[in-house]
Symmetry: C2
Subunit: 273 residues, 2 copies
């Protein structure tokens, strides 16, 4: 999917919501456990109920690998369902991969080609030749971890190298990578005050922002500092939407949560456009 | 597996060789492609032929994910075969994972508990709460990326923070993590000269050293700078062993390669013990 297509969808739906499909069998409604594939059954219900209000879905691969073959089958079915039924939706494999060149190519092929995701998240620690194999895929996107929303982000990401934090070096250096126009970045919303600085380095790139809601980031603040003329934002919510209820009508509750976030996003978009 | 057990195996076999099971269907002998599960058939033949000369096997998960469900099945079969038939062998899931706390727990459970690997490689960029969930497993090991052997290592890992390279901060900071006694580190052999510095920070920890042989590191140099009273080294070889031949008798050629490396390792061990 091209960035232009994504931006058009955002304006059409008046939403830049991404729904994180982090399915935990211990948390889903009990009646689904009788299904042949409870993970996919849950995802399908969530997707059908929320797709009107979001522009992206993001399964985190850990939640699927945790269930072995069964989990991988559910992941395959989920991405196939999305690509078949809702091809206008942007899909993110939240895999946080990264390895030496030829090995990164294997990961890139797996997620972008074979599974057919529009994008994959990648860890920057191993540098250029671990990231560029992902960037080589046309109309696909590599979402590089820059500043994450967890406590451990302060261990290394915010440490200063020659007067500038490591995550800023990651932003700057990655701009020199081949096909860097295919880069997006993960930036934690709990650190909205950093967004101004970040926009000085990457004024136009899309940011994937986790941590709004449950983790306490403020949507208006994120938009004030992070929104560009091209929107440039995908804001993720996982647990808040997925586990809004664990009754039979859970999908309806998820829909309400997604709708509520979309309303807030519409207000933010109207401030700018 | 405890570190003591690993060290005892090293002395018994006079080897600290790790064989990287990076199976590429484009490179394995053609006659195996007729097998129901060519990846597992290849791994089984390689393991049976080389196990006398090595103490560890390390499948890189990218090579399995690249084949989807089929690849995951082959990975499951491979680790099960190792645990059933050669339980004295140390196993490494070269997965380079790392995510926020509860998500890292999912990965840790998948690789260390469900699949039953003795260890897993982890990327440090997200810091403490992304690494500690892996460290919580008793008699299991977390192999943290410190200084990798690829060109991109110079993008960030060797950049100085307050007069000290990032990878040294990773070594130092990780020592403060809970259950840090379960840590080992990836250190590229192409940078043997760094090993002296590294040993000042982590005098006793095991290092997993890729890049000897094909990537040009020198075994004697690695041992001179990196070996401890507890050996403290696992040296990996992948392609040099796996693809020594693609004839019918490929496993015999792999065995010769492994045997040759074991002989060199015996010499190094005899220098010290």
């Amino acid at each position: 999917m091209t960035t232009e297509h994504l931006v058009a969808q955002i304006h059409k739906k008046q939403s830049f919501l991404c729904v994180g499909l982090d399915v935990d069998l211990a948390k889903i409604p009990e009646h689904l456990l009788k299904e042949e594939d409870p993970i996919f059954a849950f995802n399908k219900a969530i997707i059908d109920a929320t797709h009107e209000f979001c522009v992206a879905y993001k399964p985190n691969t850990a939640f699927y690998e945790a269930y072995g073959i069964r989990g991988w089958k559910a992941l395959e079915k989920t991405i196939k369902y999305l690509n078949d039924k809702y091809p206008e939706i942007f899909t993110i494999a939240d895999a946080k991969r990264g390895d030496i060149g030829n090995t990164s190519t294997m990961y890139a092929k797996a997620f972008l080609d074979d599974l057919g995701f529009d994008s994959v998240t990648v860890a920057p620690y191993m540098g250029k030749d671990s990231v560029e194999p992902f960037l080589a895929f046309k109309d696909k996107h590599t979402i590089l971890l820059a500043l994450t929303s967890n406590e451990g982000a302060f261990d290394f990401q915010t440490k200063e190298i020659e007067g500038k934090e490591l995550y800023k070096h990651v932003l700057q250096t990655s701009k020199t990578y081949k096909n860097s126009e295919n880069l997006m970045y993960v930036v934690g919303a709990t650190k909205a005050k950093y967004l101004g600085d970040i926009r000085q380095i990457i004024p136009d790139s899309f940011l994937l922002v986790p941590g709004v809601g449950a983790q306490g980031g403020s949507l208006s603040e994120v938009c004030a500092y992070g929104m560009t003329n091209n929107v440039g934002l995908l804001v993720n919510s996982s647990r808040g939407i997925l586990y809004a209820s664990n009754e039979e009508d859970f999908a309806q509750s998820s829909r309400e949560q997604a709708k509520d976030l979309q309303k807030q996003m519409k207000i933010e978009l109207e401030k700018k456009f």
